[in-house]
């Protein structure tokens, strides 16, 4: 049995044991959806970090920096700074005024049925798209990491999918939380080790390291190139590179605070103060990790080299290959296991937020609003929908195949979160005049604008050379109508505009009357959901 496979199995055994332990503590809504609100500040902070740092950050960023240098580091910066929006604007009011989902805050003073239906649709869109991107990546990666064990892409996708379904269906939020905590600790530990080894390789001289970064050598079309990788502009090129970079920044800074799987984490702690503490913990971990992407990415560029990575699995293998070249096969296996843990923790977080939103917002809040739910019905529906969401993600990932071009789905998730979810949350908390029509049109405009602009962007519309085949080809073979890969710069203003116009063109006195209640509750924590008694 190969070393990576053994480490994978060890991780699976530990997380399944946790799921078994958590399953006995997950009866009832607050226990299943919010881990009884007993997660402490530091635990939730680590879990937020584990929920957030996806394979795209670990493997993807290391790869982008290894191939395109400084421009890749721009993602690292945005992914941390975005947490200031979470900290200053949404985390505490959300914890004070909601129960399980972001729609709780919207439904507070707006008409619950239409608002919950729309918010649930937006949540499901963000979560499923993000999940499909992770699953396709996971399948390709696991198959690559375990290629000596004879595990195919299909087997890997099914394996990852089944595990995430088991965690969420049986262990609920409690198991998901601990899977995320273990993953985050592993990820940080692995990254510190890798960074240390990179520095050791350069004799602990930052000067030597940075000198190497400024003279990265590789071959392009048969010619040897020496490139300064600290220089901006290797990825974001004229004429639209600058705008795309700003648009990406907007989606990150305003989208993170609208990502449903991050927002649900703040319901797992006892109160708003703990929610704040957990954001600070998350920022410490996330920031440290992204600073260290300097060593991961530039280390791979200088020590392993583009030429070698390109012929040994491609950009996503940069970090594992770096580990292999620095410390051999055991460390390679360890880094592969971390990548695997990373993917599982993120897809589990996405599954639980999608199923919570379906059960709590759509089933209990829309379909059964008049009749009311039987005891345990909401949790049962959540378990069923976690199973369905997982199964659908498996099927779609298999249909798309390992070469599918899915990176844009992550950009799409952030764009929808920033353009649809964030305007609705912020305006309902801070604008007295805001009403149901505004929330529904804002959510719809943000959602449609993000999807529409991505559909006509270079991610979907481009002319491929005939050598590119199958699902790796762009869906529409023609020149893109919208030149940017990130729609945020247009879709976020459109989302706010939709919310604004919908509001001023309609009249809903009840929403204004109840503004003071939401204001007092979200700012003081009066009447906020309490910790569940044992």
């Amino acid at each position: 049995m190969s070393m990576p496979l053994m480490m994978f199995l060890l991780f699976i055994a530990v997380t399944l044991a946790i799921t078994y332990w958590a399953s006995k503590r997950s009866a009832g809504g607050s226990a299943y959806f919010a881990a009884s609100r007993r997660i402490t500040g530091w635990q939730n902070g680590i879990a937020v970090a584990g929920d957030y740092m996806s394979a795209a950050s670990f493997l993807g960023i290391a790869g982008i920096i290894a191939f395109q240098g400084y421009d890749g580091f721009m993602y690292s910066v945005g992914w941390l700074v975005a947490y200031l929006t979470v900290l200053l604007v949404v985390a505490e009011p959300l914890r004070n005024a909601g129960r399980y989902t972001m729609a709780d805050v919207l439904a507070y003073r707006l008409r619950p049925r239409p608002v919950r239906a729309m918010a649930s649709m937006s949540t499901l869109t963000v979560s499923t798209f993000y999940m499909i991107a992770q699953m396709v990546g996971a399948g390709a990666l696991v198959a690559l990491l375990l290629k000596d064990s004879g595990i195919s892409y299909h087997a890997a996708v099914v394996g990852v999918g089944v595990l995430m379904i088991v965690y969420v269906v049986f262990g609920g939020m409690l198991a998901t939380t601990w899977v995320q905590i273990i993953k985050a600790i592993l990820l940080i530990a692995g990254t510190i080790l890798l960074s240390f080894l990179v520095l050791a390789h350069f004799h602990f001289s930052l000067g030597e390291f940075f000198y190497a970064i400024s003279h990265v050598t590789y071959h392009d079309k048969g010619k040897e190139v020496v490139q300064n990788f600290l220089q901006p502009g290797l990825r974001f090129k004229p004429p639209y590179g600058a705008l795309d970079l700003i648009s990406l920044g907007l989606a990150l800074i305003f989208g993170t605070a609208g990502l449903p799987h991050i927002l649900v984490r703040f319901y797992t702690v006892p109160d708003a103060k703990t929610a704040r503490t957990s954001v600070v913990w998350a920022m410490a971990l996330i920031g440290s990790f992204y600073i260290m992407t300097t060593f991961l990415g530039f280390g791979a560029a200088t020590i392993v080299g583009r030429d070698f990575i390109a012929t040994h699995g491609g950009t996503n293998m940069s970090a594992p290959l770096l580990a292999q070249s620095l410390a051999g096969n055991v460390f390679f296996a360890f880094i592969c296991a971390i990548a695997f843990a990373t993917i599982l923790a993120v897809v589990a977080g996405l599954t639980i937020s999608a199923s919570t939103s379906f059960a709590h917002d759509f089933w209990a809040g829309v379909i059964r609003r008049d009749k009311g739910c039987k005891p345990g019905e909401e949790v049962l529906i959540a378990r069923i929908s976690a199973f369905v969401v997982g199964a659908v993600a498996i099927v779609i990932a298999i249909l798309l195949g390992p070469t599918a071009n899915v990176a844009f789905l992550v950009a799409l998730a952030f764009a929808v979160a920033a353009s649809a979810n964030l305007p609705a949350i912020v305006l309902s908390l801070f604008w007295k005049r805001f009403n149901t029509a505004g929330a529904v049109t804002g959510l719809a405009t943000g959602l449609i604008a993000s999807i529409g602009l991505i559909l006509v962007s270079p991610s979907i519309m481009a002319v491929d050379p005939p050598t590119v085949t199958g699902t790796a080809r762009h869906l529409i073979q023609s020149k893109a109508w919208f030149p940017l890969e990130n729609p945020g710069i247009l879709s976020i203003p459109l989302g706010f505009m939709g919310a604004f116009l919908g509001t001023i063109l309609s009249h809903e006195p009840s929403s204004e009357h109840r503004f003071n209640e939401l204001l007092v509750r979200s700012n003081t924590g009066l009447g906020a959901e309490k910790v569940e008694a044992r």
């Binding site: 580091f73 200031l84 940075f210 220089q231 600058a242 970079l245 800074i253 503490t277 009066l526």
Partner: protein, 117 residues
């Protein structure tokens, strides 16, 4: 489960609470910190992609050996984010105190009218 059924409490109670001087103090203390902090970090952050996008030559200026302005400015973003978070945590201790006083007075006054679950 009265969270979404606020009719339990008299509407005017919430209006009174929102108009109370203590609550207004809390809101202005929060605004005094959060609005400038938010504007500062958004401006500081977007300077990075704007300069990288539109002034790449300037950003490539080397400061320490080969280390350029672009990299140093990006690093400073991490310190900026952590710094604002630390300042916010300090400021928020004051908010917590004010909020606690507001909750206590409201519970004394209404004793039971506001659902204290």
């Amino acid at each position: 489960m009265q969270l979404n059924n606020p009719d339990v409490v008299d509407r005017t109670d919430w209006d009174k609470m929102a108009a109370a001087p203590k609550f207004k103090d809390l809101m202005s203390a929060k605004k005094l910190f959060i609005i400038p902090a938010f504007i500062f970090f958004v401006v500081y952050y977007f300077l990075l992609p704007i300069l990288v996008g539109y002034a790449p030559k300037f950003m490539a200026t080397q400061v320490f050996g080969v280390v350029n302005i672009a990299y140093l400015f990006a690093l400073s973003q991490f310190l900026m984010a952590w710094g604002i978070a630390a300042l916010y945590v300090r400021a928020a201790n004051t908010f917590d105190k004010l909020a606690k006083e507001i909750i206590e007075t409201s519970e004394d006054r209404a004793s039971g009218a506001v659902e204290g679950r």
